[in-house]
């Protein structure tokens, strides 16, 4: 659970979100991948310390659940912060592959099956 972020955290998690407990957008799932925009847009607001931690963690694409685990924060807190970063244009969000039992994606299933077979 611990990582190289030795800065520690002395604030309660929801203090990081200004007391908000719900995100402004609902499009972040546990396996939505987020990636820091590089270079950041010129007009973007300067990220706060905790936002910078997130941006460092998603220099490469990373799933929301992984980000929360690596930052040792609840997913709900991370999602609220990601909403801010998304609205500031500092990250992109890539939604999961849509899955519907009624219209199964055979190609996708076969790819997963083959990948497991290689393990």
């Amino acid at each position: 659970m611990t990582d190289s972020d030795a800065s520690g955290r002395l604030v309660r998690p929801f203090a990081l979100t200004g007391g908000r407990t719900r995100p402004s957008r609902a499009d972040f799932t546990l396996i939505t991948t987020v990636t820091a925009v590089d270079p950041p847009p010129e007009l973007a607001p300067r990220p706060q310390a905790e936002q910078s931690r997130i941006l460092r963690r998603c220099a490469r694409p990373v799933a929301v659940a992984e980000l929360a685990a690596l930052l040792d924060l609840p997913v709900s807190v991370v999602v609220i912060m990601l909403c801010d970063l998304l609205e500031a244009g500092l990250i992109t969000a890539h939604p999961p592959r849509p899955v519907s039992p009624r219209t199964p994606d055979l190609d996708l299933l076969q790819k997963v099956r083959e990948g497991l077979g290689r393990l």
Partner: protein
């Protein structure tokens, strides 16, 4: 430009994100869900903890837990990179009965599920079987032996769970990577068979 619609555009300097899918590993408390996730994941299982009061609950969901406002629900998960374009996540569902309501969120968008059963106390996973049956989420049943031993044939387990014929029952050892992988393959074979029908 980069900031105009971040969901629609992936800008030039930003690495392309892979597609992601997930499979749930469910079952009663202590049946070996995290062990299975860990044996087949390419990373050590990660854990996220969610304070219950902010997990998107209606008031009814909180009945009976008012005394424990600090309760958190923990979820372990792992990752299998299928290719540069596709990553599979495995989520161990919270084992405690009162946290079922979290499964609805977890279950949305899952390819399917593995219901893991402890061969010594299969009844601890009955609720998980019910959950996926009722929601028509495809699943396989994996019987985790005790120290790798399997005293009962798969058919006995099927009978004790009153499982329909179409649901595969696989004997496994959640500690072993190949065994856990074979359980996931059994699930994918079930999904593929349903897809080509």
């Amino acid at each position: 430009m980069a900031g105009s619609d971040p969901l629609a555009t992936e800008t030039a300097g930003t690495p392309a994100a892979p597609d992601t899918v997930k499979i749930l590993i469910a079952g009663g408390f202590g049946v070996g869900k995290t062990t299975m996730v860990g044996s087949v994941s390419e990373i050590a299982p990660l854990r996220t903890e969610e304070p219950l009061t902010v997990a998107g609950l209606g008031v009814d969901d909180l009945a009976g837990i008012e005394q424990k406002r600090a309760t958190t629900v923990a979820m372990d998960f792992g990752r299998i990179t299928i290719s540069d374009e596709l990553v599979l996540y495995l989520f161990g569902t919270p084992g405690q009965q009162r946290f079922w309501f979290m499964w609805n969120d977890l279950a949305v968008g899952a390819l399917g599920a593995v219901v893991l059963i402890d061969v010594r106390r299969p009844e601890s996973s009955f609720a998980a079987v019910d959950f996926f049956e009722r929601r028509r989420i495809p699943f396989v049943v994996a019987v985790n032996g005790f120290e790798g031993h399997h005293p009962y044939p798969a058919e006995d387990i099927r009978e004790s769970l009153a499982l329909p014929e179409g649901i595969p029952v696989v004997l496994c050892d959640a500690r072993r990577r190949e065994s856990s992988r074979d359980v996931l393959i059994a699930l994918l074979d079930l999904l593929i068979a349903a897809a080509v029908e």
